[in-house]
């Protein structure tokens, strides 16, 4: 059974039909990437999975249980965490407080402490800056904090919305390295990216979304080779 299964969802913003039947699955231990141009519906897909937007049609299943229609905080508690587009960390809270906020829905103190250690081990930089205000971090550090904060919910599926957006190439490299490492340690990841080249390097499978529809799905390797992806997303002639 798939860890996360999205089945033919249709989402709307008022009358705007933003998602026109998206289906995808993420298996346990996988990195799956959803790539597509700006405005294709990637963030909308993520919002629909996390309950911020309710699909008018279709179903979303987490380990076989339907979660569409649940309020967002219950979906978080069931195990879907996210680092949203643009990081959106709490600028007026310290790094540590931001991380604690990530564990808001939990009350297993001992396990929270273990996860905090895990996050600090993954991002030593955050530990150094633990009492600094989130708003004063650099872009790369903010992305680490957004990921760390999502991990503090101890999610079964971690969704990352364009983690490389606006970062310098060296930092993009580092972020993807961390994603790979996180996955090796057992985290299931749904990675949303515009940077198709990088995303397809770390992912095992991928989906291509265009104007609210999945137009291609395959293993990352095959997608990298496909004519369409190379032309439209990898910028090759």
């Amino acid at each position: 059974m798939a860890m996360l299964e999205v089945n033919d969802i249709h989402s709307y913003y008022g009358n705007i039909h933003a998602l026109k039947g998206i289906s995808l699955t993420v298996d346990k231990g996988e990195i799956v990437t959803l790539i597509g141009a700006n405005g294709a519906g990637k963030t909308t897909t993520l919002k629909t999975i996390s309950g911020l937007l309710h699909p008018r049609h279709g179903a979303i299943m987490l380990e076989g249980e339907r979660i569409d229609g649940l309020p967002p905080h219950q979906i978080v508690m069931r195990g879907i965490g996210q680092a949203p587009e643009g990081r959106k960390i709490f600028g007026a809270l310290t790094v540590l407080e931001n991380l604690e906020m990530g564990a808001y829905a939990r009350n297993d103190t001992a396990a929270i402490a273990r996860d905090l250690d895990f996050v600090f081990a993954l991002f030593p930089r955050l530990q150094e800056r633990r009492s600094q205000l989130g708003g004063t971090l650099s872009g790369g550090e903010q992305q680490m904090l957004a990921m760390g904060r999502a991990l503090m919910a101890h999610p079964r599926v971690l969704m990352l919305d364009e983690p490389s957006m606006g970062l310098a190439p060296v930092l993009v490299e580092a972020i993807f390295e961390t994603i790979r490492k996180l996955n090796k340690e057992g985290t299931t990841i749904l990675l949303i990216e515009q940077n198709a080249a990088k995303a397809l390097q770390v992912a095992s499978r991928g989906y291509v979304i265009e104007t609210g529809q999945i137009v291609l799905q395959d293993s990352a390797e095959n997608l990298r080779k496909s004519e369409k992806v190379r032309k439209a997303y990898l910028g090759e002639a």
């Binding site: 919002k47 996390s50 309950g51 911020l52 309020p71 967002p72 905080h73 978080v76 508690m77 965490g81 996210q82 949203p84 959106k88 709490f90 600028g91 007026a92 809270l93 906020m101 990530g102 808001y104 829905a105 939990r106 991002f123 030593p124 930089r125 150094e128 800056r129 600094q132 205000l133 708003g135 004063t136 971090l137 650099s138 872009g139 790369g140 550090e141 680490m144 904060r149 919910a153 310098a168 060296v170 930092l171 490299e173 580092a174 972020i175 390295e177 961390t178 490492k181």
Partner: protein, 569 residues
């Protein structure tokens, strides 16, 4: 000559201040305040207001010009304040040539006499021009002074003005303490401070201020080096003195000032309630008066024998929890339909809600329950048990004090709680808050409910204090006042609400001349605050800290450094 390319700025700011000075005069403020001398026969509050406008023009012009040499700053300052004073003279000349009274009711001969120092048109105009120039020079000198010296002088000046303006209050208060009578006789003449009195206050406070600023750190060091036991003693001692002072305040201050304190307490309760909704959770509520009204009417209806229906509860203390609970319930009820709304939509709907509650209380259909325009009367006193006592503003003070302490305690606790964190997250970004696992619905409704319950408490005490309540006591302006005091104090800051209530409710009451211009002054204060200190008088620690750190860390950490600690397998 000026180092700043915008050479027209002193002229612009001079023109602007001139317009403001003329407006102040035409509003009637100069006249109203002109009757009150700060220093008897020397300077009135009205003139001081005018001079302050000139001074501000010069000060801003100098600051913006970037000029550093004294000659230049004097030139810039005098230029802009002179322009401002020319406006005032122009008003007088225009007024003596044609009757402006048709349009501006305050444009009358007495105003012109005030503006010309009763010296006639020509001499008076010259004097006003000289004042303009002098203000410019003073502003330049103020800027030239070292920051520390400026601080030494500023506080005594403020005290002289305050004590001069508050003559009535000081003398009335001191009547309770006859042994201080010679002091007031020395300090004051019939209208305003005496000249020796003003000088004495200035010198005395200069010394105190100097001592305070210079020796404070030494005192703090001494305190820090004390053994913990004596430190605890000092702390408890000062808390004890504070408590005793708070408890004795109505006796010290007398009837009138106790009434003022009651008002401050009332607005403080409401301010702390609205602060939960607006300050903590970031939900702009413009109809907060509704909960105040609901608390008041609940207690009123339950305890008033006059409405025809049987008195359900005779005892105020028994009715009180109902008032609070019904208000809280109403808060939650209002919260449900606006859960999805943000910003301006929310503001408009809540505004409407406030009006609906008032109109319901006023309506003829519900007259048997609420008394319509005749209001609800004979509301019970807050007598404790069988103890019958006479309730004066002084005794109500203790009720307000107890209420405020309770509400401050609850606010502080809840702010630092899990719920407080959730509110903060919702305030920053609702979507992200939800992605953290925060239950948006419950979090928002709790803010509305808890905020409303404080308003209900305020209403319950208010109803009992007035013994009669009428729909028109619960108009929209109360919501605006409460919101203003939060903004001026500092959104989300509990000490800020206290300071805001003292400044916006307490201060205007101290001076009867102010009350006519209350909303004008509120408006001006709000505009100035937004420009000069948008975070409020006593900003929330977190926001202040954030600004502080941004200033320190002009350069964010260099990105490549990160690589070393990241991405190593």
């Amino acid at each position: 000559m000026l180092s700043n390319p915008d050479r027209s700025y002193p002229i612009k700011i001079g023109l602007l201040s001139g317009v403001i000075a003329v407006l102040i005069a035409l509003e009637g403020m100069i006249q109203a305040f002109g009757a009150r001398d700060i220093i008897g026969g020397v300077i009135s509050l009205g003139h001081a207001l005018l001079y302050a406008t000139f001074f501000a023009a010069a000060y801003l012009a100098i600051r913006r010009s970037g000029a550093t040499r004294l000659v230049n700053t004097i030139f810039v300052g005098a230029l802009s304040s002179l322009i401002a004073s020319i406006f005032v003279i122009a008003l007088v000349w225009l007024g003596s040539w044609t009757d402006l009274g048709y349009v501006f009711v305050n444009a009358t001969q007495p105003l012109y006499e005030l503006l010309t120092f009763k010296q006639g048109l020509v001499v008076g105009s010259l004097l006003m021009l000289i004042v303009g120039i002098v203000m410019g020079i003073l502003a330049a000198l103020t800027v030239a002074l070292p920051a520390k010296t400026r601080q030494y002088i500023l506080t005594p000046v403020i005290w002289v003005i305050t004590l001069g303006v508050l003559q009535d209050l000081v003398t009335v208060t001191i009547q309770n303490m006859p042994f201080l009578k010679p002091v007031t006789n020395f300090l004051y003449v019939s209208n305003g401070l005496s000249i020796p009195g003003a000088l004495t206050i200035f010198v005395l406070l200069l010394a105190i201020n100097y001592f305070w600023l210079e020796k404070r750190s030494a005192a703090q060091n001494r305190y820090a080096s004390l053994p913990p036991a004596s430190r605890r003693a000092v702390r408890w001692g000062s808390i004890g003195i504070g408590v005793v002072l708070l408890l004795m305040l109505p006796q010290i201050l007398g009837l009138y000032l106790s009434e003022v304190l009651d008002n401050v307490g009332l607005y403080l309760l409401m301010g702390l309630g609205l602060n939960i909704v607006v300050g903590f959770a970031g939900l702009l509520d413009l109809g907060y008066v509704a909960f105040f009204a609901i608390g008041a009417y609940t207690v009123g209806v339950l305890t008033s024998p006059e409405l025809g229906h049987a008195v359900i509860i005779g005892n105020w203390w028994v009715a009180l929890p109902f008032g609070v609970a019904v208000a809280a319930f109403a808060g939650i009820l209002l919260g449900i339909p606006v859960l999805k709304m943000r910003g301006d939509y929310l503001a408009i709907v809540t505004l409407g809600f406030g009006e609906i509650i008032r109109l319901l209380a006023l309506s003829d259909v519900l007259k048997p329950f609420f008394g319509g325009a005749q209001g609800t009367r004979s509301i019970a006193d807050p007598d404790i048990g069988p103890l019958e006592m006479t309730w004066s503003p002084q005794s109500f003070y203790y009720l307000f004090l107890a209420g405020c302490i309770l509400v401050i305690f609850v606010s502080t606790r809840v702010k630092n709680s899990r719920l407080g964190r959730a509110w903060m997250a919702v305030r920053e970004d609702e979507d992200v808050a939800q992605a953290m696992g925060i239950d948006l619905v419950a979090t928002k409704l709790l803010a509305f409910g808890m905020g409303a319950s404080f308003g209900g408490l305020a209403g319950a005490i208010y109803a009992s204090k007035l013994t009669s309540i009428f729909p028109h006591s619960f108009n929209f302006l109360i919501s605006i006042n409460v919101l203003s005091l939060i903004i001026i104090g500092g959104m989300g800051s509990i000490p800020g609400v206290v300071v805001g209530a003292l400044a916006l409710v307490g201060l205007p009451e101290l001076l009867r001349e102010f009350s006519d211009f209350r909303y004008l002054l509120y408006g001006a204060a709000l505009v100035v605050m937004m420009l000069v200190r948008p975070e409020g008088l006593v900003p929330e620690a977190r926001r202040a800290m954030e600004l502080e750190e941004f200033r320190e860390e002009e350069e964010p950490a260099k990105e490549p450094v990160v690589l070393k600690t990241m991405g190593q397998p």
